[in-house]
Symmetry: C2
Subunit: 188 residues, 2 copies
């Protein structure tokens, strides 16, 4: 059995609690893991086929009304693969943050133009934080319930909120530092 691809792990995780269609997996990813692990249709559908052939998931036809639809559930073998992977130490840590890259080279521009980058970064991070916040109530519900509640999606969601808010605040601080504002009173 060749090594599973990163996307394979995402899929296994996504179907580990309940069966889902490719379309559902994609929208789930977009509403949850997206900020630290994205996936596109171009990866999901072919990977579902591969996983199915390898016997790690199993597809069944479950039409929604008249519209046909295939949902995939995890097999015993798939669950073993998922757990095995979860037990290995994480090894991929990547970031592509164009704003920091631009900032890094901003010495060739006048400070006001570098500040514009910082402001754009801040706007973006505030927007993401807000978007993530909108998912919080739902994740909180999922976290409750002593027997079958799952606290991890909420935990991870909150890391995203905190990270984005930290980053936005950092941008603000750096804008001040760059444009030389008078040291502000600490509010709160």
């Amino acid at each position: 059995m060749t090594e599973l691809s990163p996307t394979a792990h995402v899929i296994l995780g996504m179907v580990s609690r309940e069966p889902r269609s490719g379309y559902e997996i994609k929208s789930l990813v977009d509403n949850s893991t997206r900020f630290f692990w994205a996936a596109s249709y171009g990866q999901i559908y072919p990977e579902l086929k591969r996983l199915s052939e390898a016997g790690l998931v199993k597809g069944s036809d479950v039409p929604r009304g008249e519209r046909k639809r295939t949902v995939y559930s995890i097999t015993a073998k798939g669950m073993e693969a998922l757990k095995g992977w979860l037990r290995e130490a994480p090894a991929t840590f990547e970031m592509r943050e164009e704003g920091l890259l631009k900032l890094f080279f901003s010495g060739v521009l006048p400070p006001e133009e570098a500040a514009a980058t910082l402001r754009a970064m801040r706007e973006h991070r505030l927007g993401v934080a807000e978007r993530l916040r909108s998912f919080e109530p739902e994740a909180m519900e999922r976290a409750e319930g002593a027997e079958d509640g799952d606290p991890f999606p909420l935990m991870v969601l909150q890391s995203g909120i905190e990270f984005n808010e930290w980053f936005a605040e950092w941008c603000e601080r750096m804008t001040d530092r760059l444009l030389g504002s008078p040291a502000p009173e600490r509010s709160s």
Copy 2:
């Protein structure tokens, strides 16, 4: 003129202050932008050739002792391209953080095993923070000098230090939350 690749921008930025060889660009990237924007030889050398053909950089033979070596300097056209790009709002924000992904799915494991992921993540982040800190004195030197000092590499480096330390601390807090530690006294 077709759109420049992401790596092209990295290269333009890296040669914008002084001429550098491909090898130097690579080690510079590894010691600076790497934590938010990596690049490999497999991208750098071919891209240098393309940029050279497009007239955005210019290569010259500058041997170091007897060892031959080509350094690339930015052209007027290249500088324009760099500045144009710097003035556009950043558009790429990506992360691949395997630890968060594992955590997200950790509901299928007993809590102690999820905590192991958090601990591994914390170790990793502390290590990165330490590594980044070791570059700080050098970046501080570069930042000084009213006339030609460049404060941006230091700024960006400090964002990395702060981010990694925040993340490590978050992992700690989540480990506590997960294993249900008694509310700790705030030290400091």
